[in-house]
Symmetry: C2
């Protein structure tokens, strides 16, 4: 629905509030909110996100009526401020900033000091009595406008943009290091240079009409919604392109008016660790972009207590106000103009997974939020940050770090070092672990950062682009390690007499900021150490956080959580991490081990049922012993064992040599072996002779597996441990297929029960992984005591996409936004989800209390878990390491 | 629902009628009906098909209460006939025959002369005054009982069964040729031998208790419902195993009482050609099985007018009665006992496709049935018998036949001759065309007959097993060619001094009975000759039949019929056969031709869009000219053109040599070529980079094809022929994929329309061939002006079965009755059909009048056409030769 109002004021008169972020964007809504609660916000107005859509549907152009309204709003501000936009004497200046519904840091564009031209700059100088400052504002304005509106940029990542280059020349000429040291005259000359650059690159004069400037800037912000960086970001975070961005036009305040002015970025808590301390950084005599861009390394916020004690005290107060008002950790920007504090932005701070958990848990303890809010606020995936390996503490004692920087993204990362985003991406695609090392990062580096294990910079502070993005991506990051001499040309890092070359291995500890040469040995996370009994729970605050959040999640969730485990070892780990059973044991994985594969091959090569039975009889005791291990580790929780699934040719060797060796071993001719290998080759093995089709054509396989299962169960029960067996038939399409297999399984079960005299609790069910199985789930439910959705195969068949082959077109699909999420990562709701939903309904229509689960990779994906909750499944099953994520995601699904 | 009555009487008292075939089986119901309309039927009773199910659910045993009822019914018959079952003086004898709901000729078992034992045979001899006859009956009874009940059979197809062997010895000892020549004493000795055989093979004495005999015989008939032959037959004709068989117990009448007795089989019209003549054969002094078994070649029915003129006149009268009562061609069995006629069975006669059409058409002309009945009565597939090639008449004049037999299955067949069913099956599997040559066929030969092009026998008449089965299967058959010396041992046929060896090519004309050495040249069918203008329509009665039935079908059907055609030639043929448009033109087939494949390969090997466009520009005029041909042949009817569908690697060579040749031709290194070939290889190409995924990643392909289509359309319109274009996008899963492609197609269409100034009528639609497309058909219908169901791919994905790989397990599935019909031949209704139905509903919910069609092989399958009619599709599309079948099947669907 369209809103008729295009523009909302804030400051003196405030029309919006925090609840209106869809319309005003996050920045606009929070500026309004801060103004409402009495924080010092320079006045301005927000052009709504709906205008963004109008802009695009009006052929990428501002509709005339909107422009007229903007001009009216400017007039109001002129009246309020007693200044005039474009006035030679007393000019009103604006910042123009984007502000989408969800914050997209560094993705969108900003313009400061708008309204300056050759004439107004003089008025600005006169009015402020500070010509140097005025010219600094003007040259900044030209530079930003040139970049953002006129598209004058560096040609590639190795070149410097022409404005920066001119600035450097000016500093050289003046023989100074910092741009703050340039004189008014230097700056006037620089402005001339800048205008020449504009003429040369855009074939136009720099616009002197301030309304032209404003029109261009607003349009450019709207255009920036569809630049490459924004699109990539939106794709990664699933932000719909229809949301659009708002534009905030705000009266300028100046952090660059001299030594009593400053600008900074701060957090109400540490966004990397979650610790409750005032955290951030600032620059004296600077404008906002200087801090974020990482060009100058800013001062830690603590220093402000000596530089500007009053402002520091006021900021501490602001922290408390913001947290108690927004009930969440805030990330805010401020400017001090001649010792007066202004708030320019606040938002819920991006944070690392670790910080998200710590802040949520501690805020509950502080009474700021309740448990449910805490659970909802932690991205489920972030729990994994508590489980990733850390550097081994003994090793760290032996090898000393060569340098250190700011710990901006906690965790341990090792990899080969590369100096450009492109190269990092390339080597990652080649299978290398990569550490991206840059002097500073910029939005153009996003893809390379995504491809890296860790990010290392020599410039920029904890709110630099590198730090910000790394935190959000959950990447390990050390930034502002000033001791590193990074040279792009020679592709080296030099620290003292240590020289690290491109491709060399390094390790970075994002929790401490340390940098090491070589790949450091890692140790299990603290949580794993506690679970494994090698660390006292009381000594690990991380474990306490983990345990707290898991117990809260378990209170809320409705879904059961099981694990996919093919060995007792995996089952044990999963049990420690909270698994309530095994949802999928892929029995074929047991066949791949060294001593077993040859028996399997013998079975496949046999010509007769007897020959197959002979080979199977060798596998049986091995399988049985694995099953016993699984049952013991699961201590009476259900264990779902899937019968042999993959096509048989997967077990046979392909290469000449391997065939010869095997043929000798099994006493068949290589020719016969080759013949058999090639006779088992299939055009589309995914749709071939596999799943229950194997058990139906070779019932002796099913009999062997069933016998191993039930004999194992009997043994374990005899030794005093409860067992809950679920035998699962794969790839059922027809109820009669299942009937064929369940008949065998039940009869073997009865044999074992009567021969051992031990009662075994068991169910027989099936994978639901073909569209027909979903469509005919009512018929199948008559035979099946449980369903487990095999979403991988279901995705392949429902979408007609082989997981092994999609990479030839899926990247293009993402580019074109044909699909937004990899359907093999997250359940595709329109087709695959619809089939699951239908199968649940049909299954229940026949067997009211049928157990419904999901195994396969989707079982550990939060978005898919949410769907599973909605479909009313009984449980999800995932790999052991994703169990904690699944527990949290299940709680979130229940609370949403 | 179970019927409480287990037994129905017929004869003196008649409880059933023709409408009760589900319960009484075809034979039982029609015996009752004949009795009701006054035809001479020996009395008896029918045990219902429900008892068959009771038998199986009672652990393969007759329930006691049923047995008691049977004994009561025997008592009633004893009272009616004044004889007593098992009586030494005046014994009552029975035949026991199976009788299923649908006639299954030769599949089930029959026992005659039941009630004879060492004592009753003497009474039978005395009462009939004919000891020779009595002993003949007894030895026949032992032989049949031994075979059917006790399972004493020949070991394999090359051995003779022990009874037959003993019979031969007896004939040799008596120095006679025919068994009718054996004396009473000879037969008495033979009976002794027979009883020894029973003792030896079954380790039991031949049962002397007549009730034991009856109990055994009834049980054996029920058992025969599940013998291999019956199961194979049911599978072929889709008869559910739950139907069961009835058992008919009937008082014996004897065709073997001497020269005034006879037995025969006759048809009210010729079942091979449909001609309205009394047709059949008989044997004097024989029992029923002798005729059908083909051991003695019987006399043509016409001879009966001299042998038994009264009976012949009476039979002619029976023919008229039966046809006017049953309104269909009847196949009946009769026995003449001492000049008195008895009717033992009547049923709707099996007939060839040609006969089915002729009979149906002529019965309408005779006023016996209406057009709708005629249409419903012709198996749709049988129309194809009017279209298959015939032997070229000129060639037949040059080459004279070496022998001739009875024309029992019309058509022309050439192939290599084999002498056993097993070998025929084997060589067929090797890809050979096979003619199965047997002295006589038996039910064991069914699989081999199915595998053969034609069947040739030296023994047996037009109602022999060979003739019967060939007619029903639509196989070419020449039987009873007595001049052929067939020797199984040396595997030869000798005719005069011509010797034909196993594997030699022969030709048989089932319309004339002629047999030729070598493969004869064939000519188009008469229908095709008329359609092609090389034969005057008035001179061909076959064409007249074809034309009549097609015009009746067109009056009734609701579905449109289109063709799959990839070339103008195919389109022309289809148009002649009645196609109302092209439902599928697979454009890639055009690329495989000699002069084009290299351009295609050049396109695939290109690295850049420009390189691809260059190669495509060479293909464009070639495609355009094909499309022009299609449009011209279709004369304004819609032509659906599918864009490139298969994965690109299908176009590249695989073999070393071919790669080298091609690499020279295209000027790339063989290494690069190999690299590209292997980079295009996919794990599961069916689920890979194909369909619209190609057009999305390489939009220049779509642009080229669209341009060729619209430019062709413009040219044809310019020349004065109307054109109705439908551009079809393959393998859509997501609406946005389709949007991507339709945008390109519409923009190319507009370009061509504005550059040529010619208005082109066109639609853009999509294949629906993935489960997701069905589930999201509402979204897709927003973009698609029509849907065409690609049931082949839909079957593959819905069932998770690759058509190229199913043969490894599908035969087993048929054996186990997990599925009954090949899902690639007939739409699988539970999954695939359900998806189609859903997609139709969803498509119409968004676009009420959306055109819905089906292309792919299922479009020519009558069962699938029926489903398509039910789902309310607009049309079906099939290969040109199946168009007439589809027209008829569509009419049948509309009438059912």
């Amino acid at each position: 629905m369209e809103n008729s109002k295009n523009i909302y004021e804030f400051g003196r008169v405030t029309e919006g509030d925090a609840s209106m972020r869809a319309l005003l964007g996050g920045k606009g809504a929070n500026l309004a909110e801060m103004a409402k609660i009495g924080l010092p916000v320079p006045p301005g107005f927000t052009i709504t996100t709906e205008v963004c859509n109008k802009y695009y549907s009006n052929k990428n152009s501002l509709p005339t009526e909107v422009w007229n309204e903007i001009k009216k709003s400017v007039t109001k501000l002129e009246e309020q401020q007693g200044k005039k936009f474009g006035d030679k004497k007393n000019p009103l200046l604006f910042s123009v900033r984007s502000g989408a519904r969800e914050s997209m840091p560094g993705m969108m564009d900003t313009i400061l000091n708008l309204g300056l031209n050759d004439e107004t700059v003089e008025g600005h100088a006169e009015k402020t009595g500070n010509p140097r400052f005025a010219y600094d504002c003007y040259r900044r304005f030209i530079q930003m406008y040139g970049d953002v509106v006129l598209g004058i940029k560096a040609k590639d990542e190795h070149s410097i943009d022409p404005f920066e280059s001119a600035l450097n020349t000016a500093k050289q000429n003046a023989n100074v290091k910092e741009d703050t040291e340039l004189s008014a005259e230097d700056l006037k000359n620089l402005i001339r240079k800048y205008k020449e650059i504009v003429r040369k690159y855009s074939s136009k004069e720099f616009p002197q009409d301030v309304f032209d400037q404003l029109h261009g800037a607003i349009s450019a912000v709207f255009e920036s919604w569809n630049n490459d960086r924004a699109i990539i970001y939106r794709r990664k975070y699933n932000i719909p392109s229809e949301w659009g961005t708002a534009v905030n036009v705000q009266c300028m305040v100046f952090g660059n008016m001299g030594e009593t002015s400053a600008t900074g970025v701060a957090f109400t808590r540490n966004p990397a660790t979650g610790e409750k301390i005032f955290y951030g950084e600032y620059l004296i005599n600077a404008q906002g972009e200087d801090v974020v861009a990482g060009i100058r390394t800013p001062n830690p916020i603590g220093n402000l207590s000596t530089d500007m004690p009053d402002v520091f005290a006021q900021l501490n107060q602001v922290c408390q106000t913001l947290e108690s008002h927004f009930n969440d950790m805030q990330d805010f920007e401020f400017t001090v103009e001649n010792s007066k504090l202004y708030m320019l932005q606040t938002r819920n701070g991006k944070r690392t997974g670790l910080a998200a958990i710590r802040i949520a848990v501690e805020m509950v303890q502080e009474g700021l939020i309740n448990k449910e809010t805490a659970i909802k606020r932690i991205p489920a995936d972030s729990v994994s940050s508590l489980l990733v390996p850390i550097f081994d503490s003994d090793t760290k004692k032996e090898i000393s770090s060569i340098a250190s920087g700011l710990p901006a993204g906690p965790g341990a990362a090792s990899g080969n070092v590369y100096f450009s985003a492109k190269k990092a991406e390339e080597m990652h695609a080649n299978g290398e672990s990569v550490i991206l090392c840059r002097i500073e990062t910029s939005p153009e580096d996003i893809r390379g950062m995504l491809a890296s294990e860790g990010i290392l910079t020599s410039h920029g502070g904890v709110s630099s682009h590198a730090a910000l993005v790394a935190r959000q991506m959950g990447k390990v990051c050390v930034c502002g390690a000033g001791k590193l001499g990074i040279d792009y040309a020679s592709k080296t890092i030099t620290v003292g007499n240590v020289v690290i070359h491109e491709g060399d291995a390094i390790s970075i500890d994002g929790s401490t900021g340390e940098i090491f040469v070589g790949k450091l040995k890692t140790a299990p996370s603290e949580v794993n150490q506690v679970l494994q009994g090698t660390l006292d729970a009381k000594k690990s605050y991380t474990y306490k956080l983990f345990d707290t959040i898991m117990s809260w999640a378990d209170e809320s969730r409705k879904l059961g959580i099981r694990t996919n485990a093919d060995s007792p070892r995996q089952a044990k780990l999963a049990f420690q991490l909270g698994a309530e059973g095994v949802g999928l044991c892929r029995t074929e994985h047991m066949f791949f081990e060294e001593d077993r594969i040859d028996h399997m091959r013998e079975m496949i090569l046999a010509d007769t049922t007897e020959g197959r039975e002979k080979a199977l009889s060798k596998l049986e005791p091995l399988q049985q012993s694995d099953f016993e291990g699984l049952f013991r580790e699961m201590r009476g929780y259900p264990v779902t064992i899937r019968l042999l699934d993959p096509p048989l040719h997967e077990f046979l060797p392909n290469e000449e040599n391997a065939i010869n060796t095997l043929s000798k071993k099994l006493g068949v001719t290589p020719e016969r072996m080759k013949l058999r290998v090639s006779s088992l080759k299939e055009a589309n093995p995914m749709l071939g002779h596999r799943g229950c089709r194997l058990g139906i054509t070779y019932p002796e396989i099913t009999r062997m597996q069933a016998r191993a299962i039930f004999k194992a169960a009997a043994n374990v029960i005899r030794s005093g441990t409860q067992v809950d067996v679920e035998v699962m038939v794969p790839l059922t399409a027809f109820a009669k297929e299942l009937k064929n297999q369940t008949d065998i399984i039940h009869s073997v079960a009865q044999e074992v029960i009567s021969s051992t005299g031990i009662q075994i609790k068991y169910k027989v069910g099936t994978m639901i992984e073909l569209p027909r199985a979903c469509l005919c789930a009512d018929e199948i439910a008559k035979e099946a005591q449980f369903f487990s959705f095999g979403t991988n195969d279901l995705t392949q068949t429902c979408l007609g996409m082989s997981r092994d082959d999609v990479n030839s077109f899926l990247p293009k699909y993402f580019d074109l936004e044909i699909i937004k999420t990899n359907p093999f990562a997250s359940i595709e709701p329109g087709g695959v989800g619809a089939l699951i939903k239908l199968a649940c309904e049909k299954g229940r229509s026949v067997r009211e209390n049928i157990k419904l689960g999901i195994c396969g990779e989707h079982g550990g994906d939060p978005a898919s878990i949410k769907l599973c909750h909605q479909y009313g499944l009984s449980y999800v099953s995932c790999s052991p390491n994703r169990i904690p994520i699944a527990r949290l995601a299940a709680a979130q699904a229940a609370l949403s």
